[in-house]
């Protein structure tokens, strides 16, 4: 299982953040996510693999200093 936005989804091989956003049906233009504690930029959402038992956090906006 993987967790995203307080919801759980079954894990499968080659699961990406893009896959999870489709499952969530969340069209918001996220630019950064975190898989556990590793940040992933938006342009890598379809490439970065989400490991089993991970939690994915969607960072809403990067506000800056």
């Amino acid at each position: 299982m993987v967790r995203i936005s307080d919801k759980e989804f079954p894990w499968h091989e080659n699961l990406t953040i893009t896959d999870l956003l489709k499952e969530l049906d969340d069209p918001y233009p996220y630019t950064v996510a975190r898989i556990n504690n590793k940040t992933v930029p938006g342009h890598d959402f379809s490439k970065a693999r989400v490991p089993d038992n991970s939690e994915v956090f969607l960072i809403p906006l990067i506000a800056g200093g």
Partner: protein, 712 residues
């Protein structure tokens, strides 16, 4: 260490006023030249127009200086204020102080905000602001004792020069067994020998039994402090409670504070993790988006940047609560214990380091081509303990390194040092030289603007190329975000009143990544609203991080998520609950507009503030060299062809650099036009008479300044 000797110069006993709805209703005036200590009343009009914090500072400073006053003239004042909401222990981020003075680097008005306990302790001791004028040859400590109700000017000898030691010793001495009652403002030896000195504000960390430090870094405020002969200003106050501000509606205050505080506890671990890694979380994100300054802002990305990412610093930071004000749940002021410097006077000794934050990691790391996380920690430690602004140090050394690599300066100028990018040992040696006041460090410590002058006049370096690559504007070094691909952020830096610091506007993601503001008018609107709202935090004694570094879960469903409107509404309730006023969210913007325009006119009074002063180096707008262009050729070629419809077939890179430059410089000028219009300014960047009348700041001396600048 020599024995601490304290001799009383002057003492004023006073009756501490009761704080009313967030205000002490008086300010404290000190003149070091004649040892005067007095108080000044705060009028209702002063509160209506200037609100508090930076507003009070600016009003006091405006009345203290003439248009001809230089940073090291005795009449220059250092003003420190909190704000009506400052000192509230249950609302996150409510302990900020704002410092203003005529800047050592820009020659105009500087403001810098800082955490720590000083501002609230000053107010609870009975003063909304502190104004220090004059100069002295005697090593002086000002002691504001709100418990005993007395102000003292003291001659103190036997103190070390370094900030951590000064803070520890004075906390121990004045704390009388209760170190948490003390906050110390001090600087360090670097401030004495440079123009980029910072101020350190302390807060006592009871768990670690240490005086921790936060910095008012920008614009050489520490250099002004040192030039006045001040060693430290110490405030003493007792237990802090919600009732201390005597809020108009404590129940409403508690309700809104609980909402914001709890939201942070719930959401921060899911979002930016400020409470565990602070702003260090930004390093890899900025790098991923080509926004992390590397090699003096040539590039925004480096393959080694992840070596200084948040997971590295998470492992280095000492675990535990790190709030720089009582009860803040964001608590992002992380530090490293038992760090052992490899150079300098603390070499081999275990020290505590407050930080590093993103700016120091980027400025003293990637921007000088060093990707060793421990090197950034050591730079951070020595900048703080020497009283140096780590942003100006980083951007300044990066500039010197690029000049060295370009052959504009060489080893005969640097005292034999190889200043190639990546030479971390040379960077540390420069910091030690600045602190000692010797070697090439004395030149670096003058800041980028003066370095350009010295390199061209004394070393015959090419001035034109240095104007392009020297990352300063208005005399202040750029903070550490790459603005090349965001026109709005170029405006955020270039139009900022004090110089290129991101606390007025941070629009890179909205503009470049999200493309939320494609037109000039939309960019201008953002460059109105965001600087105004960000100004508001400085009026009230607040940190802005709880506003938009953590957001409500449903924020993305609002019309303008970047404004975090739910938080704006909470801040309005917070302000009303403390002050008893009945404002709506739009009123907060108008409050800020008054002070913002007043500060703009203050710049004019000091001989700055016109369109020409909003110029930025081309390095901030686009690729200066063919090497930079070719490193991102696909991007730049694409823009020339698709955005500007230029036929680039057969054109050499040098020609494309020139064409792109002309277009980007033109866009920056068009942005200025749009922003000035939105702000109610002339095309020379000066507030109109109508604007100052609308805002109620049409005082006779304000009108005189406008008239002197051709506005009638």
């Amino acid at each position: 260490m020599t024995e601490l000797k304290i001799k009383e110069i002057k003492t004023l006993r006073y009756e501490r006023p009761v704080i009313e709805k967030g205000y002490a209703n008086q300010t404290l005036y000190i003149n070091l030249s004649d040892s005067e200590i007095s108080t000044k009343p705060v009028s209702e009009k002063m509160k209506d127009i200037f609100v508090g914090g930076k507003g009070f500072d600016l009003w006091l400073l405006w009345n203290a200086v003439k248009g001809t006053t230089k940073w090291n003239d005795p009449e220059n004042a250092i003003c420190i204020a909190c704000g009506p909401l400052g000192g509230t222990p249950i609302y996150p981020g409510s302990g900020k102080s704002i410092v203003t003075s005529i800047s050592a680097t820009t020659g105009s008005v500087m403001d810098s905000n800082v955490g720590g306990y000083f501002g609230p302790y000053l107010k609870f001791s009975g003063f909304d602001a502190l104004e220090i004028q004059g100069k002295t040859d005697i090593p002086t400590v000002v002691f504001i004792d709100g418990i005993s109700q007395q102000i003292q000017i003291l001659e103190v000898t036997g103190l070390p020069e370094e900030a951590y030691e000064i803070s520890e010793i004075l906390t121990d001495h004045f704390g009388q067994g209760k170190p948490r009652n003390i906050s110390v403002v001090s600087t360090g030896p670097g401030a004495k020998h440079s123009l980029i000195g910072c101020l350190n504000f302390s807060w006592f960390d009871a768990k670690r039994s240490k005086a921790r430090l936060k910095q008012a870094g920008r614009g050489g405020l520490g250099s002004v402090f040192a030039d006045k002969g001040l060693t430290a200003v110490v405030a003493r106050w007792d237990t802090v409670t919600v009732a201390m501000n005597n809020p108009a509606d404590e129940t409403a205050l508690r309700e809104v504070a609980k909402l914001h505080s709890q939201e942070i506890v719930e959401q921060d671990p899911k979002q930016n993790q400020m409470s565990s890694v602070g702003t260090a979380h930004l390093v890899t994100i900025m790098n991923d988006y080509d926004l992390l300054p590397t090699h003096n802002f040539r590039y925004g990305q480096h393959t080694d940047a992840p070596k200084m990412g948040m997971e590295v610093y998470r492992g280095l930071f000492d675990k535990g609560y790190d709030g720089c004000w009582v009860g803040c749940t964001l608590a992002c002021a992380h530090g490293i214990k038992d760090f052992t410097p490899s150079t300098g006077p603390y070499m081999g000794k275990k020290v505590f380091v407050d930080g590093p934050e993103y700016e120091t990691i980027a400025g003293c790391g990637s921007n000088i081509g060093v990707f060793d996380p421990l090197h950034a920690v050591e730079m951070n430690f020595y900048c703080d303990t020497y009283g140096l602004d780590s942003i100006s140090v980083g951007t300044g050394i990066a500039f010197a390194m690029e000049c060295f690599e370009m052959g504009l300066i060489n080893k005969t100028h640097t005292g034999g040092m190889d200043l190639s990018f990546g030479n971390g040992q040379a960077a540390l040696e420069l910091v030690h030289q600045i602190a000692r006041g010797d070697g090439f460090g004395t030149i670096v410590g003058q800041g980028v603007r003066r370095m350009k002058h010295i390199f061209s006049t004394d070393f015959s370096a090419n001035r034109a190329i240095m104007e392009d690559i020297g990352m300063e504007a208005k005399g202040l070094e750029f903070s550490e975000y790459m603005p090349k691909e965001s026109l709005a952020q170029q405006g955020g830096y270039g139009l900022a009143l004090k110089g290129p610091q991101h606390d007025e506007a941070w629009l890179i993601f909205l503009d470049m990544v999200h493309n939320f503001m494609p037109t000039f008018e939309q960019k201008a609107e953002a460059l109105h609203w965001f600087p105004m709202f960000r100004t508001w935090f400085g009026l009230c004694g607040l940190c802005k991080l709880p506003w938009n570094d953590v957001v409500p879960p449903d924020n993305k469903q609002t019309k303008e998520p970047a404004k975090v409107i739910k938080h704006v509404e909470w801040y309005t309730k917070y302000f009303n609950a403390v002050t008893g006023r009945k404002l709506n969210p739009d009123d907060l913007i108008t409050m800020s507009e008054r002070v913002y325009n007043f500060q703009k006119i203050f710049n004019l009074k000091m001989g700055f503030g016109r369109r020409e002063h909003d110029a930025i180096p081309y390095r901030a707008m686009g690729p200066v060299t063919t090497e930079e262009y070719e490193s991102r050729q696909e991007r730049y070629d694409g823009q020339l062809k698709d955005m500007y419809k230029i036929d680039i077939d057969g054109k050499e890179t040098t020609e494309k650099v020139k064409i792109l430059r002309k277009l980007r410089e033109q866009r920056y000028e068009e942005l200025k036009d749009a922003v000035y219009k939105r702000r109610g300014w002339t095309q020379d960047g000066i507030p109109t008479i109508e604007t100052v009348k609308r805002l109620g700041i049409d005082f006779s001396d304000v009108i005189d300044v406008l008239k002197a600048n051709g506005v009638a």
